[in-house]
């Protein structure tokens, strides 16, 4: 119902399963912010793809033919990450998106579906952290001592490794421009262990050659800017 309300009764009709998927990833931390983002994206997409519009290619023959999009990118965490980290983070990563269908969910729109997997390493600086914390790892030292080798400081800086798995729903709007929505799941690893969180991104790509594109992705937990290679 959330997606239906966002799109209104004149927007494209989405399959019920997908609606539930998108709504499902909105539940949790940052849900309201993510909902606003995806609402804006979907409203924009709905406005860009009305029935009868002449500027939108309708056939998947108009899409670039590729099987895998490989995308190294810079990564930013612009909001608190899931797990123990706080504040903003930055790092590098890579994403691989495999096209699973060149015909997407909406018949009237030139859309396609890909499945994406990635690896993103970020360092979050933390904020309002105490200067001291607790010892979380010790090793036996010389002379019977036990040396603390890792300190966990609440609110302190942390390193994250994200492993996102997403469904990439592409909209091929113009020969050089396309947009996408990516609901999915992000597994993350920190010094405190393993976790998982829903992820949601909206993005776009600008084709700069037959093979290369600039790709921007705004979302949570990560936002990226990179160059993709279609293979």
């Amino acid at each position: 119902m959330l997606i239906r309300r966002i799109l209104g009764h004149h927007g494209p009709r989405l399959p019920a399963g997908l609606t539930h998927t998108v709504e499902g990833v909105l539940v949790g931390r940052g849900a309201r912010r993510a909902a606003v983002g995806v609402a804006l994206a979907l409203v924009g997409l709905a406005a860009a793809s009305p029935v009868g519009a002449q500027t939108v290619p309708r056939r998947f023959e108009d899409q670039p033919a590729y099987g895998l999009e490989l995308e190294p990118h810079l990564v930013a965490g612009i909001a608190d990450p899931p797990g123990p980290g706080t504040a903003q983070g930055a790092g590098v990563g890579v994403r691989g998106s495999f096209v699973v269908s060149r015909d997407g969910f909406i018949n009237e729109v030139n859309d396609s579906i890909a499945i994406g997997f990635g690896l993103d390493a970020l360092h979050y600086r933390g904020q309002n952290g105490s200067l001291y914390g607790r010892c979380v790892r010790r090793q036996p030292g010389p002379g019977g001592t036990s040396v603390c080798t890792e300190v966990d400081v609440p609110g302190g800086p942390r390193n994250y490794l994200f492993i996102p798995a997403v469904m990439q729903w592409n909209f091929w709007l113009r020969p050089q421009w396309s947009a996408f929505v990516e609901p999915g799941l992000a597994v993350f690893l920190t010094n405190r262990g393993l976790g998982a969180a829903p992820s949601l991104s909206v993005g776009g790509r600008m084709q700069i050659s037959d093979t290369f594109s600039l790709v921007f992705r705004l979302g949570w937990p990560t936002t990226t800017l990179g160059v993709s290679v279609r293979l």
Partner: protein
């Protein structure tokens, strides 16, 4: 009446040209991407709230464990039950008036542990470690390090390379060299792994 011979006209298709590789844009963008990646992916060994060059002090209470967001932290801990500091390279750690104090530090560190029950440390190359007025002192240091134990009941030092250990008024001074060789006496209460 002019007759246009259509067959004589060259038939040329005008397919949409694929956009050529914007080399200027790529040349601009890729170095920025690579440089940004290098800067952002610089490793951080510590995991605490102390920043490079910052004096971080902890006192009182039960536990005082200080981390460092990378290298170059100045960490001090005193008057607590348990103290510890974890840091990257080029750090200094002072610890006194606690039950036990430990240090885990990279290269080029300077550690002073005094007036405590026990001191323990892992320290990298070129470490300068001072242990005084302590019951038990156990230190593992990297190459080119210097350890001083004074007024200590038991001083145990493991050298992972060349090192010099000075024991002053020490009940038991044990120096172990990583290559299995025996520490040599350099005179003046100093023993060494490698040359004096």
């Amino acid at each position: 009446m002019a007759v246009v011979n259509l067959t004589a006209m060259p038939i040329t298709s005008t397919p949409q040209q694929p956009p050529g590789l914007n080399r200027g844009l790529v040349r601009l963008f890729l170095p920025i991407l690579l440089l940004g990646g290098l800067v952002l992916s610089s490793s951080c060994r510590g995991d605490g709230g102390c920043q490079r060059g910052q004096l971080c002090e902890c006192s009182g209470g039960t536990d005082c464990y200080l981390g460092c967001d990378g290298d170059g932290c100045d960490q001090t801990c005193f008057s607590a039950n348990h103290c510890g500091a974890v840091c990257g390279n080029d750090c200094s750690h002072t610890c006194h008036d606690v039950n036990d104090c430990t240090s885990d530090c990279g290269d080029d560190c300077n550690v002073s542990c005094h007036t405590n029950m026990s001191c323990g440390a892992f320290c990298g190359a070129r470490c300068v470690y001072e242990c005084s007025n302590v019951t038990t002192c156990g230190v593992r240091v990297g190459p080119a390090s210097t350890v001083t134990c004074s007024q200590v009941n038991s001083c145990t030092v493991e050298c992972k390379g060349s090192c010099q250990v000075q024991c002053l008024n020490v009940g038991s001074c044990n120096v172990t060299c990583a290559d299995g060789s025996a520490a040599v006496s350099c005179g003046g209460n100093t023993v060494a792994c490698g040359p004096c």
